[in-house]
Each structure stands twice: as structure tokens, then as C-alpha cells.
């Protein structure tokens, strides 16, 4: 993971704030205290936070039902005659609002502290030494919030048990409030889009999360889509249209599949990003827009650069922080947590031991998306514990579905329709060759043999991908070359 300089802007949302210096965390606090002087003292020790006061039970009830305080300080004894410590009554209300509930006791109310804990209060201190006690309470609150937010994040939002992935997500979220561009890498279905939207949510930007899949458009359409156009700018432009750049104003622009953007488009986009201003097609008036860029690709970024498919200056501009998501096969401990997450609203799935092993054995080429599809199938069809056979059968069904509808994936289809089938085939070959080499220690003879290709095809592919090679390394093997082309001798 790498990062460049960054600027902080805005403040992070509740569950994120704990990651940041305490001084930057502005809390909503309700103080229930009848004594005006004690109110003043507490207010002084809570400077910098949003503090509201209630001097009696009814006002406190009202404020609790109207607001949503992070912390609620409750004096147990409200008024001289309050022998029964009516402050206790507020604890369940504060708790229901998710507030961190702190009771303050004075002489005579100590016996009620135990009761307060039974009712669900989180913290307590004896009145009289506010300077020390309030700061201790705030520290304990931050500690607790950090734990809760982490639990929430990794069990309800970006589900993962993998320590390495957790650390990456943490790092990314630390930069959520900044303008730092973020580049997310990882194979298909590993959660790149999901992570991008989580980062946006945590950024507290006023604007929208605007996603665009660059591989889904021809270059002309992509330009129109990004920059927008005026009526009559080109044939078919029957009305003015706002581009994604403008839609993302004060928000996040998520550029998916950046590898498929033409060099010319990259240059135009780079200019727009740097100047924060651009011309919609057919317009003489520049538009300004202020957005944060998150981009993603499932391709190997270094090869894209080497092969000249990604401008280095554009790359420099978008890769402030690079997050590489691991394939599911490398974090198999996540499988069951994800199954739980995907079934949180449905009936739970139970697996036999064999079925669990089957899930762990599978190599999940479609990553989390594949797991999600499997879970959907199982939830729809299964009663009782799921057996290993069923898992195998369903995984096969999914593979067949992929083979039918998805062998030419949406992305491949669009690419072919845009650039032509021969180009698309080359790209497919390059991806397969590269993946094979990566998974087999770069042994080219093995690639030639396993993939049953000619060495010429291999070299052409390496050339396109910008992977350096010396032809001598390949010991071509005609036997396995079944595609009808003649292998070219290394020295030819």
C-alpha cells in the first residue's frame, strides 16, 4: 500500500471519528443536572462538544426523545427532595437511543449506582472532581466506540476476518475525509465497488457517489457521459445533459475499469481533475466541479503502464493511496462470515462438515460475487443442513451459468462491440497468459504446454502486456500445440 500527501477536509462520520485525534471529535452530549453551578462546571470540561442541559426529568425525557446524544451524563438525584433518585428512569431511554450513559452520584445516591448498572448505564463517577473524571469518561467512551465501530464495520459493512484486509480497510477509511485519490485493485468480485462506496459514506461529503464503468462505453460516449453535453453537440444530442463530473460535485467520482479508458480520454480527464473545471461537449462555458476520485481496475496496473495503456501522469494523479484486495481464495476464513452476512435477513444456512470442507476447498474464481450467488441459490432451494454434494452441484450450476450467459462477460462483450472482436480476443489471451504465468512462477514452457498455444502467440501476448522476456527461455513443444499455428523457433 502506498500513499502520497493528502489534505484533510471535513470531519468523519460518527463511527469513524474514533480513528482520528480526540480534539477533532465533536460529540453530542446531554447533561441532566439540576444544580446550575454543577452545570457550568461540566460545560467547561466539555468545551468543544455540542452540550445540552436538562435540569429536570421531563426536560431530559423530551431532549432524549428529540435528539440523539453520543453521551448522556445523568445526575441520579434531581432536586433536594429526590430520595428515590429519579435520574434512574432516564437510563433505559438513553440506552434505547444508543447513548453512552454515565451516572454521577453524590452522597446518599451510592446505593443506587448498582441499580443504575442493572438498568444498563455504562459508566459512573462520584461528583466532586469533574476535571479528572470527565476526561476519564471521554477516554473510556472513545475506547468503547472504537471497538463497536470496528465490530460493525467488519461484520455489517465490509465483512472480513482477515487481519491484513482489515488493516487495509482501516487505512483507507483513515483517509476517507481527505481529498486523497484512492486506487483500488483486485480481481473481479473482491469488493472494489463496495469498498469505494464505503469510503464515500465515511467521507461526509455533501455530494453523491457517482460511479462510471469506463469499459461500458465507446470513447465518444464515455466523453459525453463524463463531461456532459449541450443540445446539438453531436447527432443524437437532443437535449442538454449533465455529465458525471458535474453530478459528482462535492462528492465522489468512482472510475471503474480505468484500464479501458483511451489515452486521449485520460489526458482530458487529467486536465479536468487538475483544473477542477471542464467544458461539456458543445459548450463554450466551462463548468466547475469539486470531486474526489476513487478508481479501480482488475487489471495489473504495472502492466497497463508498461504496455502504454495508462498514462503515467494520469496514474500519478489517481493513485494517492493504493489498496489491493486479496482474492477470496487467499482469505478463506471470510467465507463463513460472509455466508452469515448474506443470510442475515433470511433463514440461516447450516452446512454439514463435508459441505464446509467443500466450501473451503473451492478456489472461488468469481470471489465474493460467486459466493453471494451460491448463497442465493442455497437459500432459495435448501431445507435443513446443506450437504457437500449440494454445494458441488450448485457451484457447477453457477459455472454453467457463467459459461452460457457469462463466458463472454458483460465487460468482454462491451469491449468487443467497441474495439472489435480481434482486439477483445487479444485482450482475453493476454489476461489468461498473464494469470497463468503469475500462478506458475513465470514458467513460459508451462504456459505454452498447459494453454496449448504456440510460442509465437505467447510472445505476442507478452509484447502486448509489456512483460519483458528473452526468447531463449521458451522450449517450444509442438506436441501440445493444438491450435494449428506453427510455433516460431526462438531465434527466428
Amino acid at each position: 500500500m502506498t500513499k502520497q500527501g493528502y489534505q484533510q477536509s471535513g470531519s468523519a462520520r460518527k463511527w469513524l471519528e474514533v480513528e482520528r485525534p480526540e480534539t477533532m471529535t465533536k460529540l453530542a452530549v446531554l447533561v441532566v443536572e439540576d444544580n446550575p453551578l454543577a452545570q457550568k462546571v461540566l460545560a467547561a470540561h466539555l468545551t468543544g462538544h455540542n452540550v445540552e442541559f436538562a435540569a429536570d426529568l421531563n426536560t431530559a425525557r423530551q431532549k432524549l426523545s428529540d435528539g440523539n446524544p453520543d453521551i448522556c451524563f445523568i445526575d441520579l438525584k434531581l432536586g433536594d427532595k429526590d430520595d428515590k433518585c429519579s435520574g434512574l428512569k432516564l437510563i433505559p431511554l438513553a440506552q434505547a437511543k444508543g447513548s453512552y450513559c454515565v451516572v454521577m452520584s453524590g452522597h446518599g445516591s451510592e446505593p443506587y449506582v448498582q441499580k443504575a448498572y442493572e438498568l444498563g448505564c455504562h459508566d459512573f463517577y462520584a461528583k466532586g472532581n469533574e476535571e479528572v473524571n470527565v476526561s476519564k469518561v471521554l477516554a473510556r467512551f472513545n475506547q468503547k466506540r472504537k471497538k463497536i465501530s470496528e465490530e460493525f464495520l467488519f461484520s455489517q459493512s465490509f465483512v472480513t476476518q482477515d487481519p491484513q484486509t482489515r488493516a487495509l480497510i482501516h487505512e483507507a477509511l483513515n483517509y476517507a475525509p481527505s481529498d486523497l485519490p484512492i486506487l483500488i485493485l483486485g480481481p473481479s468480485g473482491t469488493g472494489k465497488t463496495k469498498l469505494a462506496s464505503i469510503i464515500h459514506d465515511a467521507s461526509v461529503r455533501r455530494g453523491e457517489f457517482v460511479a462510471i464503468n469506463c469499459s461500458a462505453y465507446t470513447q465518444e460516449l464515455l466523453e459525453a457521459e463524463l463531461f456532459g453535453y449541450k443540445r446539438g453537440a453531436f447527432t443524437g444530442a437532443n437535449e442538454n445533459r449533465k455529465g458525471k463530473l458535474l453530478m459528482a460535485n462535492e462528492g465522489t467520482l468512482f472510475l471503474d475499469e480505468i484500464g479501458s479508458m483511451s489515452l486521449e480520454m485520460q489526458a482530458k480527464l487529467l486536465k479536468a481533475i487538475e483544473e477542477k473545471s471542464f467544458y461539456p461537449l458543445g459548450s463554450e462555458r466551462p463548468e466547475t466541479s469539486n470531486f474526489r476520485i476513487i478508481s479501480a481496475t482488475l487489471e495489473d496496473i504495472q502492466s497497463l503502464i508498461k504496455a502504454g495503456k495508462l498514462r503515467f501522469d494520469f496514474f500519478q494523479r489517481i493513485h494517492g493511496l493504493t489498496i489491493e484486495l486479496k482474492p477470496l481464495a487467499e482469505r478463506k476464513e471470510d467465507i463463513f462470515a460472509l455466508v452469515d452476512f448474506f443470510t442475515r435477513q433470511d433463514k440461516r444456512l447450516a452446512f454439514t462438515e463435508d459441505a464446509k470442507e467443500e466450501l473451503l476447498r473451492h478456489d472461488w474464481p468469481g470471489n465474493i460475487r460467486e459466493l453471494k450467488k451460491l448463497v442465493d441459490l442455497l437459500v432459495a432451494g435448501e431445507r435443513g443442513r446443506v450437504a457437500a454434494e449440494t454445494v458441488k452441484k450448485m457451484l457447477k450450476t453457477l459455472r454453467l451459468q457463467e459459461g452460457g450467459v457469462g463466458f463472454a462477460s458483460e465487460e468482454q462483450y462491451r469491449f468487443a462491440a467497441r474495439e472489435g472482436l480481434p482486439q477483445a480476443i487479444d485482450r482475453f489471451i493476454d489476461a489468461v497468459v498473464k494469470r497463468h504465468l503469475e500462478s506458475n512462477g513465470g514458467i513460459k514452457t508451462k504456459a505454452v504446454k498447459d494453454l496449448r498455444i504456440s510460442t509465437r502467440l505467447l510472445y505476442q501476448s507478452l509484447e502486448r502486456s509489456g512483460i519483458p522476456y528473452t526468447k531463449r527461455n521458451v522450449n517450444h513443444d509442438q506436441e501440445h500445440n493444438t491450435n494449428g499455428t506453427t510455433p516460431i523457433p526462438a531465434h527466428s
Partner: protein, 76 residues
């Protein structure tokens, strides 16, 4: 609270109340005193006003308690 019957121990709840008031209000007096050194003139006059008021109330409560003790003595 000065009308007490024999089967209740009169001074205890009253004493307990007094201790509560003295301890918690002295606590906030101390806390407020600590704030004075960094307070603006306006804040400190506001604080001082509240402090004086609180000190007076406390003094009155102590007197009231003393009187109730005396009344108790007399009624015996």
C-alpha cells in the same frame, strides 16, 4: 420536616440530605473556583454570582439543620 413523630429517627434523613448537599455543592464550588483563573471577566462574574448563591443556600441549610436539632432537643 420539623414535625417528627417518636418512632422515626428524625435526624438521619435530614442529616443524610445535608451531607449530600454539602459534599456535592462543595464539589461544584471547588470545580467552579478552578475555572475562575481562565475565565473571561463576563464568565467569571457569572460564575461568582452562582458561587455566592450556592454558598448562601448551603449556609441556610446548615442553619436549618441546626434549628431542627434544637427543636428536637426541646421536644424531648
Amino acid at each position: 420536616m420539623s414535625i417528627m413523630t417518636k418512632n422515626i429517627i428524625p435526624t438521619e434523613p435530614l442529616l443524610s440530605q445535608l451531607i449530600h448537599d454539602v459534599s456535592s455543592q462543595c464539589g461544584s464550588l471547588k470545580g467552579a473556583a478552578g475555572l475562575l483563573k481562565n475565565a473571561s471577566p463576563q464568565e467569571s462574574s457569572e460564575l461568582l454570582g452562582l458561587m455566592i448563591e450556592q454558598a448562601q443556600t448551603l449556609a441556610e441549610k446548615i442553619v436549618a439543620y441546626k434549628n431542627s436539632l434544637n427543636a428536637d432537643e426541646i421536644s424531648k
